[in-house]
């Protein structure tokens, strides 16, 4: 029994390692994108337009003759960075609201939760489209629009987690030891609820990549000529039959990246599962 659990724990560990490395690769590609591109992703060469994939251009060229591989690599930066930024913003903002609401309760809690209800009641993408079109075109504004509709979910998750631990005997013991509110939140509450929130955040990175590319696809995110997967797909959509590589390259990039992040999220969740956690430490 214990052996099986230990094995399950170790398998989760190996999986985490593999997906962790894959995720790291994706992020490293994004970080070092400018050094990895075989061609200048913004250099137009109309005499070379719409070349199919071949030895010179592994993923072909678009209608301005720009190298698709270079643009996909460069686009990873825009798309993945903005998704990570978005998830970081909503985790921190939603988490902070959730902790305040959960720990203090009372009128402030009711007020903030009603506000978040209002946001949750909107169909998310519709709100994001509206917000993004009011703001100027740009990836950062797409991030802001999506952050506006996404923080309430994190506030809710964090709040319910805080409510679950705040009356635990160990919190009372910490209060009796003379620890102040801030210290208790920092040292006892956050470490005990972080796991669940982090798993949600990691699982959300994939979704956020899709939403940011979605907004860009609709022309509300990255402005041309910025290389961004969603807007690149949008550029290629009229040529699906004549030059499918223009839409398929960024499409596959989105597909693979989202899959890597989702699988990593699942693995992190398995890894942090309390059923394995205790056993692993005890060894």
């Amino acid at each position: 029994m214990a052996g099986r659990k230990r094995k399950a724990g170790r398998a989760a560990g190996y999986k985490l390692l593999i997906f962790g490395i894959l995720t790291l690769c994706v992020i490293l590609i994004a970080v070092f994108a400018p050094y990895l591109t075989p061609y200048d992703p913004y250099a137009q060469d109309l005499s070379n337009a719409l070349q199919p994939p071949g030895p010179d251009h592994l993923l072909g060229t678009d209608r301005y003759g720009r190298d698709m591989l270079s643009r996909v690599i460069m686009g990873s930066r825009t798309t993945i960075f903005s998704a990570l930024l978005l998830v970081a913003i909503i985790t921190l903002a939603g988490g902070a609201v959730g902790i305040v609401c959960g720990y203090y309760g009372g009128k402030l809690d009711s007020f903030l939760m009603r506000v978040s209800d209002v946001f949750l009641a909107f169909p998310g993408m519709v709100f994001a489209i509206a917000a993004a079109s009011v703001l100027n075109r740009g990836v950062l504004n797409a991030v802001i629009a999506l952050a506006c509709i996404s923080w309430p979910r994190y506030a809710r998750i964090t709040r319910s987690q805080v409510l679950a631990v705040k009356d635990a005997p160990y919190i009372m013991a910490a209060r009796l030891s003379g620890s102040g509110t801030w210290k208790i939140i920092r040292k006892h509450i956050i470490p005990n609820i972080a796991g669940q929130v982090i798993v949600t955040a990691v699982l959300d990175i994939g979704t956020m990549i899709m939403e940011i590319s979605g907004l860009s696809f609709l022309g509300l995110g990255a402005a041309p000529p910025t290389a961004e997967w969603g807007s690149m797909m949008s550029n290629g959509r009229s040529m699906l039959q004549t030059a499918p590589w223009v839409i398929l390259s960024p499409g596959c990039a989105i597909f693979l990246t989202v899959m890597v992040f989702n699988l990593t999220g699942d693995t992190v969740r398995d890894f942090l599962d309390p059923r394995y956690r205790g056993k692993r430490r005890r060894e």
Binding site: A173, L176, K187, P191, N192, R281
Partner: protein, 235 residues
């Protein structure tokens, strides 16, 4: 004898599905300096609630508590009273660190406290789930004693211990009380332990104190029918 604690007309109402329920209903008592007071009663009669009111972990609806000095408590569920993500040592040091003690000094003292409750020093680095209930209970006693409280509340402090360790802890508490002048509020349904340690005992029933006296009086000659029932069921 001066009193270290005076509690007057404590009242605490909990709401169970919006129905008010008086967990503590007009309780008054005092504890003298160096005295050991026992508090006994059936499960759910409000003993832990009184302990939490005294330690200001919950606010009573009515009544006042006058406390002369530091109070510490050994919680009823010792394993849950340590943060699952921190070592027992961290938990023991927390109170001392909050009082401004340096890390090294606090660690030294924490280890001395572990010696005092006869727990191996390696438990300093253990997590709560790596220790048994009894070991956590002793660590909790070490944590409470580390900050030298004038009043120690033990909520079923020896329930998870086997008889020999229980006797050791009881002897330790008695010694601390005799030598250090520490006052003790002992919550327990172990009337033999109450008899051994306490000079006075309160019997609670449904949120009220129904009987008070020396343990011998209460056990040998209970006045209230409920107390008789309690004594008979335990002994």
């Amino acid at each position: 004898m001066q009193n270290i604690l005076e509690a007057k007309d404590l009242k605490k109402v909990f709401y169970k599905n919006r129905v008010p329920f008086e967990a503590v209903d007009g309780v008054s008592f005092h504890i003298g300096k160096g005295e050991c007071l026992g508090l006994a009663g059936e499960s759910g009669c409000g003993k832990s609630t009184i302990a939490k009111i005294i330690t200001r972990l919950i606010m009573p609806e009515e009544g006042s508590v006058r406390l002369d000095g530091k109070v510490q408590m050994v919680f009823q569920t010792p394993q849950d009273s340590f943060d699952p993500r921190r070592t027992l040592g961290d938990g023991i040091m927390e109170g001392m660190r909050n009082q401004g003690m340096g890390k090294k000094q606090a660690k030294e003292r924490a280890c001395e406290m572990l010696d005092l409750v006869e727990l191996d020093r390696k438990f300093f680095y253990r997590y709560p789930h790596e220790a048994s209930g009894g070991e956590c209970q002793r660590a909790a006693i070490a944590r409470a004693l580390a900050v030298e409280p004038q009043l120690l509340i033990c909520d079923e402090a020896t329930s998870a211990l086997d008889v020999t360790v229980q006797a050791q802890i009881a002897a330790l508490l008695k010694r601390l009380q005799k030598e250090g002048g520490m006052s003790l509020l002992l919550i327990s349904h172990d009337l033999a332990l109450v008899q051994y340690l306490c000079s006075r005992v309160l019997i609670m029933h449904q949120g009220r104190i129904i009987e008070e006296g020396t343990p011998d009086e209460v056990i040998q000659d209970p006045r209230e029918p409920y107390t008789r029932l309690l004594v008979e069921s335990v002994l």
